[in-house]
């Protein structure tokens, strides 16, 4: 059986890389995940034949229960909640890696200290990714407050917790006392929670991506400890790819990773913020519809508000209604609009908005100055001019969509609250900006009705 297992694992590793490669281009992406899925299935089945195993009943029960729950939840959840689903499933992987490490360390039969050290390292990282992802999930799902949780000397206390888990890990290796195992994991699990608490909701995509990379790394390390090549290759590939992805995401938000992790972004900004002149000026639906109906060019800027309201279908209907009147309609997609890079693209694709109508920031920014109406749907920080004008602003330096240059601006917003970054948006107070308060789906639906009556 041994050679068959090895051959299968080899193929699994190949198909994972092949699948990931195909996933990196929109046209082949779906086939990529299907290839990888087959690989996973083969690897799982063949593992039942690993020599010298017992507890088959338990194994089957765990596989069946775990995969059915996860499968059903993943199919049921709405598209807007995808980010936190990724977070939670990533956390499960980290937890699994930590569990493997725990069993290995309790058995204490590893061939040499090097392998044991890798098991400890994988356990530490896996445990951090586990609780960290769970907190990220809870924050995004609204089970706990999104705002950063901070307290005095937080960084120092976190550092102490991390240091003690490392020390416990080293003690575990050198002395091998079994009772240290639970202490070690408790410290690592606690650190995962404490590391994530001070990070605000807006930064969660970067953090989830980081935990994804960490889980990959943990899986790779446990692969070493167990002599499992499929785990080594898959884990390391994900660790490297995930790290790069994390850095790319942080870059798209113009933030450094250190700043995301330790900056406690999204706190209420204190007096440094300048006073904003002007007032918020609401507009009636019918007036807004007329404004768009007589425009030549309308650019739609979707944000997280569109995702929450599930308004993407109505938005497409609105765009089509406008186009029937001969108006040019484009969508301006900021790379970090929504909760994850590409979040808006996924939602608009779901609503069958053609690819060619979506423009990214560099393409669309020069066009705002000859745009009659910019329709901002539940976006906030990505259109905040403070990113260009106010060096004291926490988002200063982030590339934004130059909506403030368009002739008129309509903003659909749930209420008068602030965005993720917790800062006022002077765009909303501008002379040529009008506010439409309400649920995005509702407001856009009414705009369509009103336009059709004209």
């Amino acid at each position: 059986m041994e050679p068959i297992i090895q051959i299968t694992y080899f193929l699994t590793a190949f198909l994972f890389i092949f699948g990931l490669k195909r996933m990196s281009s929109p046209m082949t992406a779906r086939s990529g995940i299907i290839w990888a899925g087959f690989a996973m299935m083969f690897a799982t089945v063949v593992t039942f034949f690993w020599p010298g195993l017992s507890h088959y009943t338990l194994m089957i029960i765990a596989v069946v229960i775990g995969s059915s729950i996860a499968w059903i939840l993943a199919k049921k959840v709405s598209m807007k909640d995808m980010p936190q689903m990724i977070a939670v499933y990533n956390g499960m992987g980290g937890g699994s890696a930590a569990a493997i490490a725990c069993v290995e360390l309790l058995k204490n039969e590893m061939a040499n200290t090097g392998l044991a050290a890798l098991a400890v390292a994988g356990g530490l990282i896996g445990a951090i990714a586990f609780t960290g992802s769970v907190i990220a999930f809870a924050k995004l799902q609204g089970l706990m407050k999104e705002r950063p949780v901070t307290f005095p000397n937080q960084q120092h206390i976190n550092l102490i917790v991390l240091a003690s888990s490392v020390v416990l890990g080293i003690l575990l290796l050198s002395i091998g006392w079994g009772f240290l195992v639970p202490l070690f994991f408790a410290a690592a699990l606690a650190f995962g929670i404490m590391m994530t608490l001070p990070i605000g909701g807006g930064d969660m995509p970067v953090v989830i991506s980081l935990y994804n990379a960490l889980t990959g790394l943990a899986v790779g390390f446990e692969g070493f400890a167990m002599g499992n090549a499929a785990m080594i290759v898959a884990g390391t590939v994900v660790g490297a790819a995930g790290t790069l992805l994390t850095l790319l995401m942080a870059k798209a938000m113009n933030r450094s990773l250190a700043n995301v992790l330790f900056g406690a972004f999204g706190q209420e900004v204190t007096a440094t913020e300048g006073e904003i002149k002007g007032s918020l000026k609401p507009i009636e639906i019918d007036d807004a519809a007329i404004m768009m109906a007589y425009a030549d060019k309308v650019i739609i800027i979707p944000g997280y508000g569109m995702a929450v309201a599930q308004a993407q279908h109505k938005v497409r209907e609105l765009a089509e209604t406008l186009e029937k009147r001969g108006i040019t309609v484009k969508y301006a997609i900021h790379p970090v609009a929504g909760r994850m890079p590409g979040h808006m693209n996924v939602l608009l694709a779901e609503a069958n908005v053609p690819y060619e109508k979506l423009f990214d920031i560099e393409e669309v920014n020069p066009e705002f100055s000859n745009t009659d109406v910019s329709l901002v749907i539940g976006a906030n920080d990505v259109v905040n001019p403070a990113a260009k004008t106010n060096p004291a602003s926490p988002i200063y330096g982030m590339p934004i969509l130059d909506v403030d240059r368009s002739k008129n601006c309509l903003v659909i917003k749930r209420g008068k609250g602030k965005g993720f970054a917790g800062i006022e948006n002077e765009l909303f107070f501008k002379e040529n900006t009008r506010m439409l308060y309400g649920d995005a789906q509702d407001v856009v639906g009414k705009l369509v009705q009103s336009l059709k009556r004209l």
């Binding site: 699948g19 996933m23 990196s24 281009s25 046209m27 992406a29 779906r30 990529g32 995940i33 299907i34 990888a36 899925g37 996973m40 690897a43 799982t44 593992t47 010298g52 195993l53 507890h55 194994m59 765990a62 596989v63 069946v64 775990g66 059915s68 996860a70 993943a74 980010p83 689903m85 990724i86 499933y89 499960m92 992987g93 937890g95 699994s96 725990c102 069993v103 058995k107 392998l115 994804n212 943990a218 899986v219 499992n228 785990m231 898959a234 884990g235 390391t236 590939v237 994900v238 490297a240 790819a241 995930g242 790069l244 992805l245 994850m340 890079p341 590409g342 979040h343 996924v346 694709a349």
Partner: protein
């Protein structure tokens, strides 16, 4: 034994570069699906957890191994379902 470790280190090195190369020129719109896809791929931790459970001797090890398999299965199955749902939307674009 040292031989095995060195071979594994080379695998590590090459795999890390592979991961980097695969991702490095990816359009922003695919960041989320790719993160989700790589999230699925580390679900292979499931096979390790199965072996860990299969080799467990004491009740404690068995319970922890069981939890490991449960979590690993959730990672693999959930990761696949989420990614597939997301990527299905890109495929429609092929035929206008």
């Amino acid at each position: 034994m040292t031989e095995g470790i060195w071979a594994a280190l080379y695998i590590l090195l090459l795999a890390a570069f592979t991961g980097y190369e695969v991702i490095c020129r990816v359009p922003v719109i695919l960041h989320t699906p790719l993160m989700s896809g790589s999230n699925f791929i580390h679900g292979v931790v499931l096979v390790g957890a199965m072996v860990a459970l299969g080799k467990a001797d004491t009740p404690t090890e068995t319970v922890i191994g069981f939890i490991g398999v449960l979590l690993g299965a959730m990672n693999a199955a959930g990761g696949y379902a989420v990614t597939e749902r997301m990527l299905k939307m890109f495929e429609k674009k092929k035929a206008p």
